[in-house]
């Protein structure tokens, strides 16, 4: 593992400038879990069961509004972890070593020119436009221009797990590759009358390469239109320049006819194969597309009780090339109740696709008793076609926790279930959390 030099440089810069942060948020989670995982399945035999006991230390630090002579609102965000597997390696360890760790976010952000120019450096996500939340080690610049225009650009290397090779053949990053760049130009028009009313439109591009080979070459357009306080529309479209076809498009509408009721409708087009890396050998075999049509409704009944649901009709490819499309369905109905220290809710889910589907039910609840709380969560699935010869799965978890002094809290949780791949499964987890906000200048 190599130490990211820019993080060390950023810390040195902060120290050298004698900066002071308005707010420093620190979270530390020390977590140990124990359970069993299956390995090495053989025909006609039960799989091997191994015991995994990973211990994690997860740390997150955010320092915000650091004032220096160099920049306004210097921010530093760091989120990382280390772990040790006391027994067998857990399946998502990502290495062949018991001791490992990674950085989820490690960036320095500064604003200049009366906060019109934002520079970000380090390990970060790029969320605007067609960047698809790509995680890179690199930099991003965002410039707010007169007339409501906004220009942003980024360059970096897609992040791989545990500082491993970034090539698409080894990286867990969906945009595997060693070089990525792109940007977005946006324009905002504010409509007076209510905060949020207005129009945001943008055009963007995203390019990823792997040793010079194309992995992704996409351009896209997006918009958000809120003509009234109660009505908004969003849309997005992405076009693969390399394959000269649309990879994705979506339009969604949201309407609140009355304060307690919200109605949504959406349409989505997808070409799943275009989300594969273009240098994947499998990217040459398929060009299928799917469409989804959906509606949703949420209603606040009152006294903390709300109900809602979403339904989507999916037009999938048929079983063979000659077949007509298959109509899949996806339905979720939910109810939720919150009152004081009590939270409770339930969901019923129905999913039907060509290959398989399920009916599912979930009940959950959480009750606080001063500084102590207890939570329960039960989920069950009944499959349309058997999974590994089984028709259902049930899992449940129980959690209990207590707020200790000085920002510390502790949680103990256990989970057990009967699943198609584990006739009986269980795991337990204990964690000690330190969560604190240091406000250096309380108010200004």
């Amino acid at each position: 593992m190599r130490t990211p030099r820019h993080i060390v440089a950023a810390v040195a810069l902060l120290a050298a400038s004698g900066a002071g942060a308005d707010t420093v948020e620190v979270t530390s989670t020390t977590l140990v879990s124990a359970g069993q995982q299956a390995r090495d399945r053989r025909l006609g035999q039960e799989p091997d069961l191994v015991t995994v006991v990973p211990a994690y230390e997860i740390v997150s630090i955010t320092a915000r509004d650091i004032r220096t002579s160099i920049a306004d609102d210097l921010q530093l965000q760091l989120s990382g972890w280390g772990s040790y597997d006391f027994d067998s390696l857990r399946w998502d360890n990502g290495t062949s070593e018991s001791l490992t760790g990674d950085l989820m976010s490690a960036q320095v952000q500064a604003r200049f020119l009366d906060r019109r120019l934002t520079l970000r450096l380090g390990r970060e996500h790029v969320m605007s436009g067609v960047a698809r939340m790509i995680q890179i080690d690199g930099g991003e610049a965002i410039l707010v221009l007169p007339g409501g225009f906004r220009l942003s650009g980024y360059v970096g290397s897609p992040v791989a797990q545990r500082f491993a090779s970034r090539t698409g053949l080894k990286s867990w990053n969906p945009a595997g590759g060693d070089f990525a760049y792109g940007g977005r130009v946006g324009w905002s028009l504010a409509i007076p009358g209510h905060a949020g009313r207005g129009l945001d439109v943008g055009a963007s591009a995203n390019v990823v390469e792997d040793a010079g080979d194309p992995v992704r070459q996409e351009v896209g357009a997006d918009f958000r239109l809120q003509p009234l306080q109660t009505v908004s529309f969003t849309g997005f479209g992405a076009f693969s320049v390399y394959d000269e076809r649309f990879s994705e498009a979506s339009v969604a509408a949201r309407w609140k006819p009355v304060h307690r009721l919200e109605v949504t409708a959406d349409w989505r087009f997808l070409a799943p194969d275009l989300l594969l890396a273009r240098n994947s050998i499998l990217s040459v075999f398929s060009a299928s597309t799917r469409k989804e049509y959906g509606v949703g409704l949420d209603y606040e009944v009152g006294h903390g009780f709300s109900v809602g649901g979403d339904y989507h009709l999916s037009v999938e490819p048929g079983e063979t090339a000659e077949d007509n499309s298959y109509l899949g369905q996806d339905l979720v109905v939910r109810a939720d109740w919150t009152r004081g220290a009590t939270e409770a809710g339930g969901e019923i889910t129905y999913l039907d696709a060509l290959e398989n589907g399920y009916w599912a039910g979930r009940l959950y609840g959480k009750q606080g008793f001063g500084k102590v709380f207890a939570a329960a969560d039960v989920m069950s699935y009944f499959f349309k076609e058997d999974v590994n010869g089984e028709s259902f799965a049930v899992t449940g978890s129980l959690s209990g926790g207590i707020e200790l002094a000085r920002g510390f809290s502790a949680v103990l949780a256990g989970r057990a279930g009967v699943t198609p791949f584990m006739e009986q499964t269980y795991d337990v987890m204990a964690k000690l959390v330190y969560n604190q906000t240091y406000t250096v200048r309380e108010v200004r």
Binding site: M1, I7, V8, A12, L14, A19, G20, V24, S33, L43, P47, V59, T62, S79, W81, M104, S105, R115, H125, M127, M133, Q135, S171, W172, N173, P174, A175, G176, S188, A190, A195, T234, D243, E262, L270, S280, I281, L282, V284, F285, A287, S288, R290, D298, G308, D310, P317, L351, A353, N356, Y364, A375, D377, F383, V387, T395, Q436, T439, E442, V443
Partner: protein
């Protein structure tokens, strides 16, 4: 790696000089109710400045320091100091009474409601009090909430940005156009909890099992249903996971051809029986991303053996749209093409 995190943390805290003038916990302590009646004092023509002395010179919001008068200063039978309840929410915005009182003479212009006996929180003027004079439409559109708001943590978004309904499905469209608005409340460390899929330590629902209301992805026994959901929406996996991620588990389960005796996962007729209803070509056409979960191995992928030029499968495996857009030039320049098109 393990050593650098505490080093950075220590360096950061030292650099920032975090002396913690006030430690704010997530859940503020239960406060006693207000005993002071504003209404009675206003009715008695007591001027605001009589109690809030110096407020017209205040350039910062410091509610406690704005009340320094004792009840006994006016009332013979009263003792003690006026108690100002602790704020349940932090003050996270900048405000100068000095600047505003120079232009707005009447306190009631903003302070239309005042704390009365029984209240447990200070009644701060709503944002509408600000926007009744200041036009912040463009600031809002550009998410220029600072420097008035130091940040927006603790506020609940309204209208289009309200996190209601199937927010897990819809939030992407908002973040693409308005990433700066998301950033007003959420640091990237928050987004990374779910979106840093290749660098997270574990599933969010495994780290936070007590957060039963949060919309965590892959909650519960996801292993048993991941292939169902992947089949229903093949693009959903690909947004976060590269093929080697899937393969790392499938290899441990002995499900891939890296083993000499892999566990059979494909039904009868998979290889070459088109009439079986399980022919691999149809499955690949429908959902090639599921194939990638085990077979995305570059030039050594199992597909190459049969589908390469001159291989067992005589027919071109490319869909028409692919063949139309990629020519001999691609075959020469692209390493992936060369895996099958030898010497093209």
């Amino acid at each position: 790696m393990n050593r650098i995190v505490p080093v950075i943390a220590a360096a950061l805290l030292a650099a920032c000089g975090a002396k913690s003038s006030k430690t704010v916990t997530a859940a503020a302590a239960e406060q006693p109710a207000v005993e002071f009646t504003h209404e009675a004092h206003i009715m008695a023509d007591v001027a605001c400045l009589d109690c809030h002395s110096g407020i017209d010179k205040a350039t910062r919001l410091e509610p406690k320091r704005h009340v320094s008068v004792s009840c006994s200063d006016c009332h013979d039978d009263a003792r003690g100091q006026v108690k100002v309840p602790e704020r349940v929410k932090e003050v996270r915005f900048t405000f100068s009474h000095q600047d505003h009182l120079a232009k707005v003479k009447d306190c009631k212009t903003c302070h239309q409601a005042l704390p009365e006996p029984g209240d447990k929180e200070i009644k701060a003027p709503p944002m509408a009090a600000c926007t009744s004079c200041h036009n912040h439409q463009m600031d809002f559109a550009q998410a220029k909430c600072t420097p008035c708001h130091t940040d927006l943590k603790g506020f609940v978004p309204e209208s289009a940005f309200a996190h209601t309904g199937d927010w897990l499905r819809t939030h992407g469209n908002y973040s693409r156009t308005s990433a700066q608005s998301c950033a007003a409340c959420h640091d990237q460390t928050y987004c990374a909890t779910c979106h840093a899929s290749q660098t997270t330590p574990a599933l969010p629902s495994s780290i936070f099992p007590e957060e039963v209301k949060r919309d965590f992805i892959h909650r519960g026994d996801y292993v048993s249903r991941h292939m169902i959901e992947a089949g229903a929406n093949p693009s959903s996996c690909r947004r976060c996971h590269g093929s080697p991620f899937c393969d790392s588990c499938h290899t441990q389960q002995n499900l891939t051809m890296k083993s000499l005796t892999p566990f059979p996962v494909h039904p009868a007729g998979w290889a070459n029986d088109k009439a079986s209803g399980h022919f691999h070509g149809d499955a690949a056409r429908r959902d090639i991303t599921s194939c990638a979960g085990c077979h995305d191995n570059g030039a050594s992928a199992v597909c190459v053996a049969c589908h390469q030029v001159g291989g067992l499968a005589a027919k071109s495996p490319h869909p028409k749209s692919f063949a139309r857009k990629h020519d001999a030039g691609d075959r020469r320049s692209n390493a992936m093409c060369a895996a099958c098109h030898h010497g093209a």
